[in-house]
């Protein structure tokens, strides 16, 4: 199986996970399982397989920006890096959904955070943390856990 085919499978898989998160109010347990477990696990299997198969002969390394760039010139390692994004961004999204549910964080505020996490991972995470902090700070009477 070539990296291109794997790439074509991985994007719909991740999108499926994000769709489950958006639909989480309808089926919370299912969304947790799909986006917080099954899809990231499948992406991780593909990631681990790519690393086992192609890491050894890959150029570059971790010790300088140029080395990291060289690493990603190998399409198979770039695909592994892409799967890494997909898997971990989705896990962060699933964590946001679980945390929002537990803390009564409004769905309408959560959705933009999820969209941002989907597109720009850490920026969405930061948005969620910021909104959560602001909401907590301005509603001191509410029980916070």
């Amino acid at each position: 199986m070539s990296p291109d085919i794997l790439f074509q499978f991985s994007s719909p898989l991740a999108l499926f996970g994000w769709a489950a998160l958006l639909a989480a109010p309808l089926a919370p347990a299912l969304a947790d399982r799909v986006a917080g477990l099954v899809v990231p696990a499948l992406l991780s299997v593909a990631y681990a397989a790519l690393i086992l198969a192609f890491w050894w002969d890959a150029p570059g390394g971790f010790d300088s920006l140029a080395a990291v760039q060289a690493l990603f010139t190998d399409p198979r390692i770039a695909l592994a890096g892409w799967l890494h994004y997909l898997a971990f961004d989705l896990l962060v999204g699933a964590w946001e959904v679980r945390t929002a549910r537990r803390e009564g964080f409004p769905y309408l505020l959560l959705v933009p955070c999820l969209v941002l996490t989907f597109l720009f991972g850490p920026a969405g995470f930061l948005a969620f943390l910021g909104l959560r902090l602001a909401r907590r700070a301005t509603r001191p009477m509410e029980a916070t856990r």
Partner: protein, 270 residues
């Protein structure tokens, strides 16, 4: 207590030694990654997909640990709770994890694990892993002797003998066959090797292949208990034990034949 029990899965036949059961399950689960790697990695090693060997070892270790976990219920009462046993069992699992890491690491690097003398590091690792292999296989010896000698065992005497003897023979037969195999330059004896091999196992059909003897030796712990079970079920009580001894003798002879045939450079199945 009840809550803790409620979240546990139903009792399995492997509960008597949870470390071995978990190790067996863990090696089985790890197949997901190596099977996926085999599907995407175009590299070959000696004509086969480079991940075939790690996959074979993962399957073998899964069977090894689930077998030991299954037999562990017949260890003498209290043995698995003893500290020495717990340390030993943990070290056995650790040794197999090291072994598997070495084999998968060599596949990752596209080089040989066993028989690798290319660099001092590779040669030293090979030697170290040989020692670890003897150590983790000794779990069969320890368990076999303990089950064999347990007079309070609930097993019928002939079956107890068969389980104990099978485990002991796994160690006693694997040591010389695998030990000799490890001292050769490779698992084939003789030429020419053009690639004719048995399906699934990959044993040569044209020259001697020492892996067959290793395979048979290591599976004594499966063959003899099954022979013992058959003897207990089918034969009158006083014949069961002699039948087990006979089966054991026959099996040792089979291993010896496979071993000497391979050493002579001949295939067992042409």
């Amino acid at each position: 207590m009840t809550a803790a029990l409620a979240i546990r899965p139903a009792a399995t036949p492997f509960d008597a030694e949870p470390r071995f059961a978990a190790a067996g399950l863990g090696f089985a689960l790890s197949l997901a990654v190596t099977l996926a790697a085999a599907a995407i990695d175009p590299r070959l090693f000696q004509g086969d997909n480079i991940w075939l060997k790690p996959i074979k070892f993962q399957i073998a270790l899964t069977i090894f640990f689930l077998t030991l976990a299954f037999f562990a219920r017949w260890l003498p009462a209290g043995m698995t709770e003893r500290r020495a046993w717990r340390v030993f069992a943990s070290l056995v699992v650790a040794a197999t994890v090291a072994e598997m890491t070495w084999i998968a690491g060599a596949a990752m690097a596209g080089t040989a694990s066993h028989f690798n003398q290319e660099t001092p590091l590779a040669a030293n690792l090979y030697r170290l892993m040989g020692g670890l292999a003897v150590f983790f296989t000794s779990a069969t010896l320890v368990m076999g002797v303990a089950i064999w000698r347990d007079r309070a065992s609930p097993l019928p005497p002939a079956l107890r003998l068969a389980v104990g003897l099978g485990l002991v023979l796994t160690f006693a037969l694997t040591l010389p066959t695998a030990g000799t195999l490890s001292q050769m330059p490779g698992h084939f004896v003789g030429t020419p090797v053009t690639g004719a091999a048995l399906p699934v196992f990959g044993w040569s059909r044209e020259v001697g292949d020492l892996r067959t003897a290793h395979f048979l030796a290591t599976h004594a712990m499966h063959f003899l208990p099954l022979a013992g079970l058959a003897a207990v079920l089918a034969l009158p009580g006083r014949l069961a034990k002699p039948a087990v001894w006979l089966a054991a003798t026959g099996y040792v002879a089979l291993v010896a034949w496979a071993f000497t045939t391979a050493l002579a450079g001949l295939p067992l199945i042409a």
